[in-house]
């Protein structure tokens, strides 16, 4: 037993060259579960990450001792819940380096944030014949709202292409601008391939043409340090559940003057200053965009997740995850018959791959029987699948709580899938 213990410890130490980061794995109770008697190896973090005990505790504490509706009553609990909710907003503000807390709007997640901008900005300012620029790497949530708007308004979608490595072609993107261009919506990081897009340059190009830019940061915020003032983006959206927080909550960052110029997205309570049957005056930002009772516990839990991630440090997370990416890429590339889709140097720790002659869904089902959770399918990014001429891929996406040992298990799993189909 002692030898085994030593081996486990030494292997755990090998996986943690960034000092101290391995210790955080123990903060995630779910990582101890078994799947069919096999230890869970959770490599579907790009779909949703797991929640540390600190965030679970925060949710329980809130429900047990702090819950009431916010921004309404004068009683103790309502004050407390309001303070906690607004404190979470400030944590998010600091996390992304926003100038003011009112530039942070709580939404139900990235999709909701993008739809808010589509309705609030797009439907007010985009007219017939106008053009909206997207990229080939977008998730459906950053395509479909703009298509709906384009259809309603008679506007047009232009698409910035990528190369075979999955990198956005900035020169081609720049050529798409003309006097009709009114809006740009880009992902910071591709969910299907992991490519990190050169958004700072792309935002600067858009601004040269006086065009505002929305960044879908759902896959970036969990892994990279975000500074919205440095990026100079006009809108930035992301979700809590991909970064150790609860589902049902996310934010939209927007520059204050833009948010103020926009029309509300949803009508209801809390988003008004006064209501009569003749006329309603809207509340100020951010409340103008937060109609109805929000998921208060989730917002506060999001704040706790931000505290947790900042305690580790986004730079330490990025360094460690990059090491995982390099190791996994190298190991997977060595397996004959396996091809990585989207292999550009600047990536977060996401590996999309296909195995010759084996459909990704079969790969996913067989890996599952080894306790390994990967995503299989088109990853809500069918245009990328078409671009690479595949119906679907398997995707392993890593978090700072994953280890090299788990990558070894994935590689062994892929080989055993190949064995089953070679029978």
């Amino acid at each position: 037993m002692k030898i085994v213990d030593t081996l486990v410890t030494s292997s755990a130490q090998q996986t943690t060259t960034v000092p101290g980061i391995g210790q955080f794995r123990a903060d995630f109770p779910i990582l101890d579960i078994k799947v069919d008697d096999k230890p869970l190896i959770y490599l579907d973090n790009a779909a949703s990450s797991q929640m540390p005990q600190a965030v679970i505790d925060c949710l329980v504490r809130y429900q047990k001792t702090q819950h009431a509706n916010i921004h309404r009553a004068v009683h103790y609990l309502s004050n407390l819940a309001t303070q906690e909710y607004e404190a979470a907003r400030c944590k998010l503000q600091n996390f992304i380096g926003a100038r003011e807390d009112r530039e942070v709007i709580f939404t139900s997640g990235t999709t909701d944030s993008i739809n808010l901008v589509m309705h609030g900005y797009g439907r007010k300012f985009i007219q017939r014949g106008d053009e909206i620029i997207l990229s080939e790497l977008e998730h459906h949530s950053n395509i479909v709202p703009w298509q709906m708007l384009a259809e309603e308004r008679g506007a047009h979608i232009r698409v910035a292409p990528i190369n075979d490595a999955g990198e956005l072609l900035v020169e081609e993107y720049e050529k798409l601008f003309n006097s009709k261009t009114r809006f740009v919506a880009l992902s910071h990081v591709s969910n299907a391939l992991g490519s990190i897009n050169p958004i700072k340059r792309m935002i600067a190009i858009a601004h040269q043409h006086d065009v505002p830019v929305l960044i879908d940061g759902a896959q970036a915020a969990p892994h990279l340090k975000i500074d919205v003032q440095d990026l100079d983006c006009d809108f930035y959206a992301f979700s809590a559940h991909k970064m150790c927080g609860p589902t049902g909550i996310g934010i939209l960052y927007g520059k204050a003057h833009l948010l103020e110029s926009m029309q509300p997205f949803k009508g209801g309570g809390d988003m008004i200053a006064s209501v009569s049957f003749e006329k309603t005056t809207y509340n100020e930002i951010p409340y103008k965009f937060e109609a109805g009772t929000p998921p208060i516990a989730a917002a506060i839990g999001f704040g706790a997740a931000i505290d947790y991630l900042e305690q580790i440090g986004l730079d330490a997370i990025a360094d460690y995850e990059h090491e995982l990416l390099l190791y996994a890429s190298e190991q997977i590339r060595m397996i004959p018959g396996v091809k990585i889709i989207g292999d550009c140097p600047d990536k977060v720790a996401v590996i999309s791959f296909v195995i010759d002659g084996i459909h990704p869904h079969d790969v996913g089902t067989l890996l599952n029987q080894e306790g390994i959770a990967v995503r299989t399918g088109h990853h809500c990014a069918q245009p990328i699948m078409q671009r690479f001429n595949v119906a679907a891929t398997s995707r392993a996406s890593f978090s700072f709580y994953n280890t090299k040992k788990e990558i070894d298990a994935l590689v062994a799993g892929i080989r055993s899938v190949q064995k089953v189909f070679a029978q």
Binding site: H361, Q369, G377
Partner: protein, 160 residues
């Protein structure tokens, strides 16, 4: 049951060497089946004579479960009347989605696909060819697993 048994030899064999694979030059009936979840897509060509399936072939891009199910289905319905085929479609569907503990012995070899019922995300893969056959015989042109509310009520991780 163990997940491993889904990929039994029979299924792997039908995946590797699908029966009745290809196309007919002038099929009397045709439909395309599509599972947007995983991108499975199959085309089914059928020649019907006097309400009986004379010839049936399929082709397409799909996972092993879908391909094996297609291959076994074409074997099972060839020579059957429309009525018999429709009854078999219903039986097969019941085998995968019914909560009742019914006996499906009469389905013979098709029973090898019964294990899929424990994998809700894969039920659609197995059922797609059967939906497509129904669509082809009724000349509705195409089929999708999304139109079957019974499948959508199952806990399927439809993340798109």
């Amino acid at each position: 049951m163990s997940l491993k048994s889904i990929y039994q030899e029979v299924i792997l064999d039908h995946n590797r060497k699908p029966r009745n694979y290809g196309s007919l030059s002038h099929p009397t009936h045709h439909a395309t089946g599509h599972n947007p979840l995983c991108g499975d897509r199959i085309d089914l060509d059928v020649n019907m004579l006097n309400e009986r399936i004379e010839e049936i072939v399929f082709r397409g891009e799909s996972c092993a479960i879908c391909k094996a199910s297609s291959s076994m289905m074409t074997n099972a319905v060839k020579g059957r009347s429309r009525q018999e085929a429709e009854a078999l479609i219903q039986e097969f569907r019941d085998m995968l989605v019914s909560r009742e503990n019914k006996d499906f012995d009469h389905l013979g070899r098709l029973k090898v696909l019964a294990g899929v019922r424990d994998l809700p995300t894969r039920v659609k893969c197995a059922i797609l060819p059967w939906h497509t056959l129904h669509a082809a015989m009724n000349s509705t042109g195409d089929a999708t697993t999304e139109a079957d509310s019974h499948l959508n009520n199952k806990p399927v991780a439809n993340n798109y």
